[in-house]
């Protein structure tokens, strides 16, 4: 096949894009030095992606993404096809060849488990399609898996980010808000990079989530007839079956026998009739693994076929493909004269075992079929030399081999008391108090005090007098009595403290009723503003600290933007506070008007305390207090660092 060549411009220089004769490298040679060596050569095996302008666009460009061994980031090369005759055709020729070569290179990748060469041994109809499905699965999964673990790829994948933003409304709100309110000096690209680099985990999760598909399932078992009572009571109720097109194709691929019957009979029959008869037939019951009741209507077509054909044909093919002889039970059977001798008869796994329990066989065969469509996790045991070792290993009875040495990471704990040697550097207030004390005096005091406990004369304590609670005296304390232990005043204070903390606790436990939607009496709308402002502020804080602590002078300019963004965050909080205050005033005004109305109607005055309307600036300030604190802290640290460099923030920004 002739290797196509395209007249292209690369970096505004004309040249020719083509492939080397061995079809391993893409080369571009400038026309100014056409005879010389190519200035650009890309190995096909390193090309990760191709992009082409759509056919509708006049400009024809091809972008090749190459990932060399050392760099994690794919580098893109843009070629502009500018041939005077037919640039589109040239571009297509090169692109088609390239994509074929890339696909080949990927499928020959030795790192990949190769799908069995199923197409070579067609046993039943449809086996080819199975193999090709498996094949497609392999090629896709390779690039996908690699992408999932590559932070840079995730960060650069704008389509993925868009789809995540679409899926997560909160995140997208935050993104938009952050983007809107970022300082102008910060570029969108920069903001994007920051935003996503803090959320690689979300991206990865989303990529994994969106790359997963539902696997095949036992369709026939899912298709169940529904008894629909006829509107006319005199007639019999009808059985209805709903089958979708996908389900039919799945049934076909899972039951090659049915596909064959369909092929052989459908021209005379029409499709609907075919399925109608099939679902009523004995065969359908048998394929589902149900026991025929004997009440099925005899069917000329379907009764001809034996469901074992479906079961055995596939399993023998599967065995031939995948089971190495060393663990091939059917092979053993041939060697040892069947299962009549030796071990107890196997019931479940016999290809033609108990006909009275048909479900075992159908289920087994179906499971095998389903699994055949799935990408194999293990290597094909027969594919190459050396792999057989693994098969042997699989066969060994591990529990006969004694204890395996444990491969654990040792955690050596050193005696902790070692660190707590002697000195306790208690530089606290109490330590200061204690240091002023005279130990002997202290002891003597406590001893004396203990001895001074009021005795009741019989070796016990006169508790009543010790408590010094005098119920009589306190009723009229005009003259303040000496404060003492158990005085009314002290008891009152204690009671108040306890009641207060109970109130506090109660509010924590049960909250104020509507606090879920309107925290601290803020209307829902303003509460959501608060939420959003908080989230964006946290986002900027996050970015600020990661830049600030990186100590990377390259990020210093960026740090400037971020510091500015923090300053603006405070303004934004202020705006929300003003908004909340306005809302609260409106509420108050409304309530006042209501009261006036009531007064005019009924001549009754309704008491109104403006304090009963919560929310407003106060609530916002309270909610945002920690954020404001952290903003101040960040700003102060930044100022300090600037000061250390001998600069004023204002001049720099």
């Amino acid at each position: 096949m002739a290797i196509p060549t395209g007249a292209t411009a690369y970096k505004k220089k004309d040249g020719a894009l083509t492939l080397t004769p061995d079809q391993k490298t893409v080369i571009w040679t400038p026309s100014s030095a056409a005879a010389g060596p190519p200035t650009l050569s890309l190995s096909i095996s390193n090309i990760t992606n191709l992009q082409q302008t759509p056919d509708t666009v006049a400009k024809v460009m091809l972008k090749i993404f190459e990932r060399s061994a050392e760099s994690a980031e794919p580098v893109s090369y843009l070629f502009h096809f500018n041939s005077p005759s037919d640039p589109r055709a040239e571009a297509n020729a090169i692109k088609n060849l390239l994509s074929r070569l890339i696909a080949d290179a990927k499928s020959n990748d030795p790192n990949l488990p190769k799908p069995a060469s199923g197409a070579a041994t067609p046993v039943g109809a449809g086996s080819g399609s199975l193999a090709s499905i498996a094949f497609a699965g392999t090629t896709n999964s390779k690039s996908m898996v690699a992408r999932l673990f590559d932070d840079d790829a995730l960060r650069g994948d704008i389509a993925l980010q868009q789809s995540l933003l679409k899926a997560d409304r909160n995140l997208s709100q935050m993104y938009m808000e952050g983007r809107k309110t970022k300082p102008d000096s910060m570029s969108d690209t920069n903001f994007n990079a920051h935003f996503w680099s803090a959320r690689i985990n979300l991206l990865r999760a989303h990529a994994i989530e969106s790359s997963q598909k539902r696997g095949p399932y036992n369709v026939l078992a899912h298709v169940k007839p529904i008894l629909v009572p006829n509107e006319d009571p005199s007639k019999q109720s009808e059985l209805k079956i709903k089958v979708t097109q996908e389900q039919i194709s799945a049934i076909m691929s899972q039951h090659p026998l049915l596909k064959r019957i369909f092929n052989e009979n459908v021209p005379p029959l029409n499709q609907n009739e075919f399925w109608e008869r099939f679902f009523l037939s004995k065969l359908s019951k048998k394929l589902r693994g149900e026991r025929p009741t004997g009440l099925e209507m005899p069917d000329k077509i379907f009764d001809k076929y034996d469901e074992y054909e479906d079961i055995t044909a596939f399993s023998s093919k599967l065995l031939a493909q995948h089971v190495p002889h060393i663990i091939n039970i059917e092979g053993n059977e041939e060697n040892q004269g069947g299962f009549k001798s030796g071990n107890r008869k196997d019931v479940e796994m016999r290809p033609r075992g108990r006909t009275d329990v048909p479900i075992m066989q159908t289920l087994n065969s179906l499971s095998e079929k389903l699994l055949a469509n799935v990408l194999p996790a293990d290597n094909d045991p027969e594919s190459s030399t050396g792999v057989d070792e693994d098969t042997y290993q699989e066969l060994t009875l591990r529990d006969l081999q004694g204890d395996i040495e444990e491969h654990r990471i040792m955690l050596n704990i050193r005696e902790q008391s070692r660190f707590f040697s002697s000195d306790s550097g208690g530089a606290s207030e109490t330590a200061a108090t204690f240091s002023r004390q005279n130990p002997t005096k202290v002891l003597g005091g406590v001893q004396g005090d203990l001895r001074g406990l009021t005795h009741d004369g019989l070796g016990g304590v006169n508790i009543h007098s010790s408590l010094s609670i005098d119920d009589g005296s306190e009723s009229d304390d005009e003259e303040k009595p000496q404060p003492h232990v158990g005085s009314r005043e002290s008891r009152k204070d204690a009671q108040k403290q306890i009641l207060d903390s109970m109130l506090q606790r109660r509010a924590q436990l049960y909250g104020h009723g509507p606090d879920d939607t309107t925290p601290m009496g803020l209307p829902m709308e303003i509460a959501s503003h608060c939420n959003l402002t908080h989230a964006t502020t946290m986002e900027f804080l996050h970015q600020f600290w990661s830049a600030f602590l990186s100590g990377d002078p390259e990020r210093a300019a960026e740090l400037g933007y971020l510091a500015e963004a923090l300053k603006r965050s405070k303004d934004r909080i202020e705006v929300v506070a003003v908004e909340a205050e306005k809302a609260r005033e409106e509420q108050i005004k409304k309530r006042r008007a209501e009261i006036v109305q009531i007064y005019e109607r009924t001549n009754k005055r309704v008491k109104f305390n403006t304090k009963s309307i919560r929310g407003g600036r106060e609530a916002v300030t309270k909610l945002m207090e920690p954020v404001v604190y952290s903003l101040d802290k960040a700003a102060a640290d930044y100022q300090k660092a600037l000061g250390a460099e001998g600069l004023q923030a204002s001049t720099e920004l």
Partner: protein
């Protein structure tokens, strides 16, 4: 039988249904701290108040029990019930006595005989109350008397007292368990499934704290706290002086009550009766007063400082106030990767003019999300 003696009308379920409650009081007997608040609340008054509280607890139920411990500056001592091993305290005292010299062994010391609880025979006092009272007083006096000035550390061994309290609670709950299981086959009509779910003993620990938490005791204290939390034993704390950080955390972790009466220690009895009398069962249906803000700071493993931000070993979770030497975890020896921590924040671009150009060019060219590699 029942019919004959006409005792049918007694509904015994009301009595058997009551789960005994064990209150373990740990009294912090740090003499320095008590001396410091002597003017506000002398220890003698405090003891009297605690006795009232204990009596109230006992009066609540026939099967209620109490245990009292002293967390002293150099050891933890049982005040009630008295240690079954009576050899120990006199021995210790004798050793102390021989070690110290005459100045300490005054006539008072010799004349006092702490190990003989004289039962108060006052007719006005319930004998069990009197017994507990005299035991506590005698043990406490002997404890204080046997303390020498050199023992006066600034803080107490609260972790030891907690461990002793926990082991006592465990022992007691075992004692309650055996008769129940043996009784079960005798009357199988009782619902065994419900019984197993209900604990046979409601235990709680009340710490009357006057000293600050010592960071050195952080690990043992937390171990005790987690054990208590596992056994569903709340640790309540009433702080009369200073701020026992770890006990605050203990109350939080074990669902206990933490109250600080440091501002008003004279109201001790009210605090006790109002805040701490309810047992675990009753608390389920009460709103308990507890401090809403908890000091969650931990002590670092290297210098025993209480830290608010620090470093945690990713392998063994040891806490450090500063990067340990060679970035090697002191406990498990793991080499810790610090990333680029400690880098001096760079606030000024290195070469301003050049950088601007590079930045602009970079944006034009790539348009990708990643930054442009700058000048090396």
């Amino acid at each position: 039988m029942n019919r004959i003696d006409a005792s049918e009308h007694y509904d015994e379920s009301g009595f058997t249904g009551q789960t005994p409650s064990l209150l373990t009081v740990v009294i912090d007997t740090n003499p320095r701290a008590w001396a410091a608040i002597h003017d506000l609340l002398p220890i003698s008054k405090a003891i009297a108040n605690i006795l009232v509280f204990i009596n109230a607890h006992l009066a609540y139920g026939n099967e209620n029990q109490v245990a009292v411990l002293a967390a002293h500056t150099n050891r933890a001592v049982w005040l009630y019930p008295v240690s079954p091993n009576p050899e120990h305290p006199p021995l210790a005292r004798r050793r102390n006595g021989s070690a110290k010299d005459v100045e300490m062994a005054g006539p008072d010391h010799h004349g006092h005989r702490p190990r003989e609880p004289q039962l108060g025979t006052s007719a006005n006092k319930y004998p069990q109350f009197a017994k507990i009272e005299s035991s506590i007083l005698a043990s406490l006096r002997s404890l204080i008397d046997s303390t020498s000035p050199s023992d006066l550390n600034p803080t107490t061994l609260i972790s030891g007292a907690l461990s002793m309290a926990l082991s006592y609670i465990h022992k007691t709950s075992l004692a309650f368990e055996s008769p129940k299981t043996s009784a079960d086959p005798a009357n199988p009509t009782t619902t065994p499934s419900a019984k197993t779910a209900v604990p046979n003993l409601h235990a709680r620990i009340l710490v009357l704290s006057v000293s600050q938490s010592e960071p050195a005791q952080y690990i043992p204290t937390m171990n005790a706290v987690f054990a208590a939390s596992h056994a569903r034993i709340p640790i309540d704390t009433l702080a009369l002086y200073s701020a026992p950080t770890f006990l605050q955390q203990a109350a939080f972790i074990t669902n206990g009550v933490f109250l600080s009466a440091a501002a008003n220690p004279r109201g001790l009895l009210t605090y006790l009766m109002f805040g701490f009398l309810a047992d675990v069962d009753a608390r389920a249906s009460l709103v308990v007063p507890t401090q809403d803000s908890v000091d969650f700071r931990a002590a670092c493993f290297c210098h025993r400082n209480v830290v608010d931000t620090g470093f945690v070993c990713s392998i063994c979770l040891s806490i450090f106030c500063d990067v340990p030497e060679n970035a090697e975890c002191l406990t498990c020896g793991t080499k810790l990767a610090l990333g680029n921590y400690g880098a001096k924040p760079a606030v000024i671009p290195r070469k301003k003019k050049k950088r601007k150009r590079v930045n602009g060019g970079g944006r034009e060219e790539t348009g990708s999300a990643t930054g442009t590699p700058g000048p090396a």
